[in-house]
């Protein structure tokens, strides 16, 4: 079993697509489904999934890209910190090109600030060990997939007694965002739930949402058969009138999730209200460091002047992140806003909706 080719088998995909077509053939209304994971956004575009769907299924992209939902103010804060003498900023690569109010980490790096791309928060620990005279600040963004590794790194740093490593946190959790979307103007008939987040939190995390809002939900993998299989599952749930939480991605996701990862997150972080770019504040949707780890909080340790937050003029990333508009609806898309000259995060992040449209759509 190679775990790639089997799930990209053309015949299997065709068969699922045909089943879907038949299931939707008597439906006069449009079924609107939303995925909330940047990797799903990319996979759907990369495999041309929309081409296989019947015309009465509409696929929307939600706020599933952790970089895209990070507010401008966070980038401005990171830039201000990078300008401190003796500071090394350690960041995931995607954050580097995101425009802040007037600058970006990439521009600051070119201007001589010490900004280094890392692949894991453990790299930041190594950096702190190797540069005892410098302050290392890790830009801690990401959803539940990424948070356990960050929490583990903080625990490791505390155990080692590292005094020159802090984290600028803007981590977020997915389920509260789903509730906010369901409470808004969007009429959704189902969620394609994030595969990797769910390996951590488990299918059970979504059951309260299914029960409260009676919305079909399916945790999906990232290959074509996974995605179309999950869409078919959601359609069948809708047609039968019995919404439930199903796990399509059963080869990686369980109902209980990864308890050790959940424990490590709870040990280090606690819920806090968080600002989602373009959506606004969502209660208990963010994570902040517990008081016993305050020494690792860059926002507490360092007092810097942060410029006034300004959003890119004309940028409608917020509406796109909520699935209310598509990238071509944005007057800047492909003109003032492109991967070379991004105005909003949705264009520059490798999992951004606008980046996916720009790269893959015909």
């Amino acid at each position: 079993m190679k775990y790639i080719d089997e799930y990209r088998n053309g015949e299997a995909v065709k068969a699922l697509a045909e089943k879907l077509r038949r299931a939707m053939s008597h439906e006069s209304r449009v079924t609107t489904l939303m995925e909330v994971c940047g990797t799903h956004t990319m996979a759907i575009a990369r495999f041309g999934i929309k081409e296989l769907l019947p015309k009465n299924i509409r696929l929307l992209s939600g706020p599933g890209c952790p970089v895209c939902v990070t507010p401008n103010g966070y980038i401005d804060h990171a830039i201000a910190l990078s300008r401190r003498d003796g500071t090394i900023i350690a960041t995931f690569g995607d954050m580097v090109r995101v425009p802040g109010s007037t600058a970006s980490l990439e521009k600051e790096k070119a201007d001589g600030r010490d900004i280094r791309i890392v692949y894991s928060p453990l790299d930041a620990i190594q950096m702190a060990r190797e540069n005892p005279a410098k302050e290392i600040i890790f830009l801690s963004i990401g959803f539940e997939t990424t948070i356990p590794a960050i929490a583990a790194a903080i625990l490791m740093a505390k155990k080692e007694g590292l005094k020159n490593l802090t984290f600028l946190t803007a981590n977020k959790v997915v389920p509260p965002a789903l509730e906010t979307l369901l409470q808004g103007d969007l009429k959704l008939n189902g969620f394609i739930l994030p595969g990797h987040v769910s390996t951590i939190i488990g299918g059970k995390a979504y059951i309260p949402i299914v029960e409260k809002y009676r919305i079909p939900c399916s945790v999906a993998g990232f290959e074509p058969t996974d995605i179309i299989g999950a869409i078919l599952d959601l359609v069948e749930q809708g047609l039968s009138g019995s919404p439930r939480l199903s796990v399509q991605y059963s080869r990686a996701v369980t109902m209980n999730g990864n308890k050790k990862a959940q424990d490590v997150i709870n040990e280090v972080f606690e819920p806090v209200d968080a600002e989602w770019r373009g959506i606004g504040a969502i209660p208990s949707s963010g994570l902040k460091l517990r008081s016993s780890f305050e020494g690792f909080d860059a926002a507490v340790k360092f007092d810097v002047d942060i410029e006034e937050t300004k959003e890119g003029k004309g940028c409608i990333c917020g509406l796109i992140l909520q699935g209310l508009k598509d990238p071509p609806d944005c007057p800047l898309f492909g003109k003032a806003c492109s991967p070379e000259t991004p105005v909003g995060a949705c264009m520059v992040s490798s999992e951004g909706t606008c980046a996916a449209w720009y790269k893959y759509e015909d």
């Binding site: 065709k14 999934i49 995931f92 090109r97 990401g142 990797h196 074509p224 070379e340 999992e351 790269k359």
Partner: protein, 348 residues
């Protein structure tokens, strides 16, 4: 005439890493700055080598600089790369590579054993390829002023026969071939550089292609020159080379994803990292555009050579608007566009 206020200068004040990635920003920099200032008939073709005439001899001349990190990686090192890269830039333009120069910029503190290994590698690669390194230069700079070692090689060679190779010869209906699996070099170097701790057998495909290419050029069909154009898909990968061809010619390109050879190891690691092998660098691959009726015989020629045993016909040139389309493994269609900057591993 010198031009000011070029496009690429309008948006930015400083050079960024993205300008060196081989993607869109690199192309903009070359087009809007270098080609504008170095404006002449030789440079303006922006080919892999410049074709000049000296006393009735058709000579190809090229140069390239090598800054790869780490200096040694599975399948090669910066020295082997520096020789093969310049050989290949000459070969894809239809030249038999003959002589190479070697300029070194060495950072103070580089271990002499490392330098010896790299020079030894260059010597071995050149000997096996039948080229000579005949001139060179060495500079040593203070610690911090260079990243261990930079190498520049320039090369010259004589044109083989009367092959006319260039994008101008490409026509609708032409087929596109590649000599083997893509993405190996980029993946091998990234895994080695970042110490990603992935156990795999991925090795750089770094190889001199001139003998394979000479065999391809000898595929004749009623004296017609069936090979129209060749390019080695280095930085930016196969996808970038295809975009360059489409944008320059105005033709569309259609690629069959099923036909593009990618090794299982590269496929697996690329999914874990979120890196697309189509955009990953190759250092032992050549994209060949040929007349449709000669595609099968060129393919056969390629497969006869050890560096072409996994060769495939991967697509075709169509009338269109300068776009590249991919027929995916599941039968749908999507665009291939030029990347802006280097790919980075996924966050989640």
């Amino acid at each position: 005439m010198q031009n000011q206020g070029t496009e690429v200068l309008r948006h930015r004040d400083t050079v960024s890493l993205a300008h060196g990635s081989g993607g869109r920003l690199t192309h903009d920099l070359v087009r809007d700055l270098f080609a504008k200032y170095f404006n002449n008939e030789y440079l303006s073709t922006l080919s892999d080598s410049a074709e000049i005439k000296l006393s009735a001899l058709d000579i190809l001349f090229t140069t390239d600089s090598y800054v790869v990190k780490p200096l040694k990686f599975p399948g090669g090192d910066i020295g082997k790369l520096a020789v093969c890269g310049t050989i290949n830039d000459l070969a894809v333009m239809g030249a038999r590579p003959a002589y190479i120069s070697c300029s070194l910029i060495i950072e103070e503190g580089l271990e002499l054993t490392v330098l010896k290994d790299i020079i030894g590698s260059m010597s071995k690669t050149a000997d096996e390829a039948g080229v000579m390194i005949i001139t060179g230069d060495t500079k040593v700079v203070e610690k911090g002023a260079a990243d261990r070692l930079f190498i520049n090689t320039a090369g010259i060679g004589l044109k083989i026969g009367s092959a006319v190779l260039g994008m101008g010869r490409i026509e609708a209906g032409d087929k596109i071939l590649i000599n083997g699996c893509v993405g190996d070099h980029g993946m091998a170097v990234m895994a080695a550089r970042e110490g990603l701790g992935l156990s795999s057998n991925i090795k750089s495909d770094c190889s001199p292609l001139h003998k394979l290419i000479e065999a391809i050029l000898q595929t004749a069909s009623d004296e017609r020159q069936v090979v129209k154009f060749m390019r080695d898909p280095t930085r930016g990968g196969l996808a970038t080379t295809l975009c360059e061809i489409a944008e320059s010619t105005g033709y569309d390109i259609e690629i069959d994803e099923k036909a593009v050879p990618i090794s299982d190891s590269v496929k697996g690691i690329s999914e874990v990292l979120g890196i697309d092998p189509l955009y990953s660098a190759n250092e032992g691959k050549v994209v060949v555009v040929v007349s449709p009726d000669a595609a099968d015989s060129v393919l056969k020629k390629m497969r006869f050579n050890p560096l072409g045993k996994n060769a495939q016909i991967i697509g075709a040139i169509k009338k269109g608007h300068g776009r590249v389309h991919l027929k995916t493994v599941i039968g749908t269609s999507r665009r291939i566009t030029m990347l802006t900057s280097s790919q980075l591993p996924r966050i989640c």
